[in-house]
Amino acid sequence: MGTTIGIEYYNTFILAGGGTSSSDMVTDRGKYHVEESRVKGGYNNTSTDYGVKAHAVDDEYGMRTRENAMIYSGIFNAKTKVNNTNQFPIGAEITKAVDITNGSIQKLYAEDTNLNIFQENKVSNALIDKDAIYTAEGTPMQTISNIVIGQIVPYLGKHGISQNPESFAFFGGRKYFADKSRGVILRLSRDGLTSISANGMKDFFRDNLPNATSIYGMYDEQKDKYVISLQGSNISGGKVATSNTETSATTDYLTLGFDEKTKGWVSFYTYKPSFGFSLENQFYTFNKQNLYQHYKSDVGRCKFYGSSFSDPAYVNLIMNDEPSVVKNFLTINYEGSTGWTASPITESHNNTTSTTSYSSIVHEGYKIHEEGDYT
């Protein structure tokens, strides 16, 4: 007869039951998990343990949003097919922070060996070390350089992109964006930051930018214009057609364009884009989810987004030959194509003289007829 002898040593655990609940452990007998710490369960065989820890332990971990800092991953090497873009080792110096007093980072735009960093109140530029990326073919990055984002150099001028990264647009080396907090539109090019809203539209943007909740910027490559659309419930201005015979003031948007050739804001537009871009010299904008191409020759002028009637084109101007002199304006004339009407015409004089003063004079619309229609 054999007998059972208890030993002090054990290296195996047997867990009864195969179910997942505690009752299964009892009722579902006959199924066992066997775990042992020694290879093949042999006495004094090689044992397994937890091994070394790969990284240092951060005891005070927790989610933190660093809105002024950047982090970069490992690289992707197309030749060796090594893809380390999911690696963010805590031991390597892979973060770069900018001054938190200038607000959060709203927009990053990489350009050749520069990285443009748009904060709310500042625009900076950092060198990107391209050697570290281009020459790392199997050799460790650290042997060349462990700095991917180099020294951060701010541009002169206390201007940022506020909280409107959607206003950013670029063409060639020129980058355009809106600074809502300071009420200006800016261009960033080789000569630094330039306020393009100062070209005749300073008052307009100072008054309307604070009311805009969204400021969409896009570059029209076909006509070389930076198009910006201020949208918000407190925006008003402009005039659009509401039917074949009626016009009304727009209530919640203003779209206008800046032309680099004339260095000025050349026109308002009657469309309300939800975004836009240029592709192969063509200009496209979105009307909600639908994409529209501009400057198509088979669509009538001033008709946007499938409208069945065109919006009016108009020019507001002030006529003032000798500014300090009170004058009698006798005629009005223009050079152009037939079809323009003038309505209304108002004058500035306000009852300062006697019988020949006219206040709130409105002239009804002129209608044009070719010479000879009426004699």
Partner: protein, 82 residues
């Protein structure tokens, strides 16, 4: 503005002359000569004029056709010192 039906018909609006379109600026509100003319007196008196010049063809509802292009090169006024 009403175009009268009586003869002879009177001209309304811009008139083409020497490559430009001309019209007199007429004052609708004050009839200083009290002559009850169909078109009130010519001329507006002031330091400056605010003008809105518009190009719009309200009846044009043909979406698939290219509408006429309205071109505006220059606009001016003739004023007399008073």
């Amino acid at each position: 503005m009403i175009i009268p039906n009586s003869n002879p018909p009177q001209y309304v609006g811009f008139k083409r002359k020497e490559g430009k379109y001309f019209d007199f600026i007429k004052n609708k509100n004050n009839d200083i000569f009290n002559d009850n003319a169909q078109f009130a007196t010519t001329g507006l008196r002031g330091n400056y004029l605010d003008v809105t010049v518009e190009y719009w063809k309200p009846g044009d509802n043909t979406p698939d056709q290219g509408a006429e292009k309205g071109e505006m090169f220059a606009i001016s006024t003739e004023a007399q010192r008073s």
